[in-house]
């Protein structure tokens, strides 16, 4: 009851100077708003990175062929064939030499135009093996994935990524239909569920599967050989790449296991691709660690900004409250004459400061809920507001009110009643 009355009285005198009260709490408002927004952005980035890494698979290690830097004075002959990247012999070596591995899955990518009737889509023909489905964490939408038999028989079958299926067949079921990929014809035996996550980042297995046409690796090899024709700024050149990717799945996602496999793979690559720099190893788990580390730095930075802005906000409130105490010296004297003890005066001014800062905090929370939305809409940045951010920001602003309100309140309470009554 006393508290309610105290708050009501505090509200009354703050309402008397609405504009001033609003301006006073602006520091707190923006402080709290920026704390929440930055936490939300940090959390969104972390969440996205984690989702990406989950998609890559925490127990996976990904070897990818990368085009090595151009040798000096190169690029003269038009018909030059650049050979680089992972070899089928690398695949065998990994299967033989690396322990603690569950699957080793190769993949070869050939850009193709996929046709059905007059519909055309630019896709990637990916030659791979049956285990790819599980290792890349893909799900079937219909039909089946590639089988061992498909490979052994060099069968002309394919499984369509979700986007390819949608663009070629709309809502018709593609299973059983024929498509043309480049100059070859394949029968569709299955379709994949959409992955949809952009381009899949660094070593993404993510969204690229949506635009893929999966075929048995032996079939692709038989039909296209190892040459890939690429057009670079007008001039045509050919590259010879046996495999574009080898996904190695460790027997578990435990960090030591993954680390051991990573080490063994690095040693093997060093041995077999000495100084060629045409193979890159990506370990999603390491990315996760990096993401955590950068989040930690971000959080520390954020905490500093938050502390500074709330400090500034608190000082602003204290400044105004000190002025208010002077302005209301007479009132303080009157209240003391009417029987207010020091603690009553402290309570009165503290109530005003806390109400100010909590009000500012509430306003800041409101804006802090809104701003991340705006950031997401306009910049396309992912954001995530967790309930504990709001509690934290709100709690801190209340604390700021108490801390910065105590001094002005004490000043008010220490005024001599007789002096205060004579003031003005």
């Amino acid at each position: 009851m006393r508290i309610r009355r105290l708050v009501r009285m505090a509200w009354k005198s703050l309402w008397l100077h609405r504009l001033r009260s609003l301006l006073t709490v602006l520091g707190i408002v923006f402080g709290v708003m920026s704390v929440i927004s930055m936490l939300a952005i940090g959390e969104g980035v972390k969440e996205e990175a984690q989702a990406q890494i989950r998609q890559l698979g925490a127990s996976n290690l990904i070897l990818a062929s990368v085009k090595p830097p151009e040798p000096e004075g190169g690029n003269e002959g038009n018909a030059r064939v650049l050979a680089y990247g992972l070899l089928r012999r690398d695949l065998e070596a990994i299967r033989l030499a690396i322990p603690e591995v569950r699957h080793v899955v190769p993949r070869r990518d050939v850009p193709v135009e996929a046709w059905v009737g007059h519909r055309k889509v630019q896709a990637t023909c990916m030659g791979t093996e049956p285990e790819y489905l599980a290792v890349a964490g893909l799900r079937l939408a219909g039909g089946r994935f590639l089988t061992r038999t498909d490979g052994a028989e060099r069968a002309a079958v394919c499984v369509l990524g979700a986007e390819v299926a949608r663009r070629l067949f709309d809502h018709r079921d593609p299973v059983g239909e024929l498509i043309k990929a480049g100059t070859h014809t394949y029968r569709v035996v299955g379709t994949l569920a959409a992955r949809g996550e952009g381009t899949g980042g660094t070593a993404g297995v993510g969204g690229e599967s949506d635009m893929a046409v999966f075929v048995p690796l032996p079939t692709l090899q038989e039909r296209t050989g190892d040459l890939v024709r690429v057009v670079t700024s007008g001039s045509m050149s050919s590259e010879s790449v046996e495999l574009h990717r080898i996904t190695v799945q460790a027997v578990s996602a435990d960090e030591p296991v993954v680390q051991r496999v990573a080490q063994a793979l690095r040693a093997l690559i060093r041995l077999r691709h000495d100084r060629k720099e045409d193979v890159r190893l990506t370990v999603p788990q390491e990315l996760l660690r990096q993401a955590r580390e950068s989040k930690r730095i971000f959080t520390i930075l954020l905490a500093c900004i938050a502390a500074i802005s709330l400090l500034v906000g608190g000082i602003g409130i204290m400044n105004i409250m000190l002025a208010t105490v002077v302005e209301r010296t007479r009132e303080i004297g009157v209240r003391r004459a009417l029987g207010a003890a020091r603690r009553h005066i402290v309570a009165q001014f503290l109530a005003e400061t806390v109400l100010l800062s909590v009000g500012g905090g509430a306003l800041g929370v409101g804006l802090g809920l809104l701003l991340p939305q705006v950031v997401t809409w306009t910049l396309g940045m992912p954001t995530l507001v967790l309930p504990e951010f709001l509690v934290l920001a709100f709690g801190i602003s209340a604390l700021v009110g108490v801390v910065f309100g105590l001094y002005p309140a004490a000043r008010a309470a220490d005024l001599d009643p007789v002096e205060a009554l004579r003031h003005e």
Binding site: K12, A337, L338, G339, R342, L421
Partner: protein, 228 residues
Amino acid sequence: MTAIVRLEGATRLYRMGEHTVRALDGVDLEVPEGQYLAVMGPSGSGKSTLLNLLGCLDRPTTGRYWLAGRDVSRLDDAALSRERNRRLGFVFQSYNLIPHLTVLENIEVPLDYAGVAPRTARERSTGLARRMGLGERTDHRPGQLSGGQQQRVAIGRALANDPVVLLADEPTGNLDSATGLEILDVLDGLCAAGRTLIVVTHDPKVATRAHRTIHMLDGRIDREERRA
């Protein structure tokens, strides 16, 4: 008759660097219950200092003060605040109402500090406002009232906790003579109802209504006169 107020050798010194100002210089004073006492004297003679002492807003440098039988001369701030709240009522020259509170809320300030429940407080403040002839104006703010009306609110507020003594420092000082008379009539009414009144004034008209008048000079009681 028992003395509600008893001062014994009360002095109040103000130290001003090298100098010491003797605002009160050994005052003995007894005010029996129900007495209407007027305090007069030239400016700077120590009237307000005396009233502040009697009002427990200040403590004597030396000497003692009994309020309704209790020695309050060495009480701490919290205890003095309590005395002011429960046993004393103040009326000031410039009304000293709190500007952003309504008439009723102003009257409720002392009740609030006494811990009276809001509902009871509202009943009592409404009753006091009616007694002071402010029945129509209970939701107005001080700025919307005339000086006389404001002073009546102040008197209502001073009476809120049913004090044993009502202290007033020049209650008519800011009012024209007609309105001043009105306020004096209100005080007369309180006196008739048995309230102890101590009123500091420059106005000889007040003295004609008081039971007893003391004249201050240089921090002492110079002389006193009683009405038959």
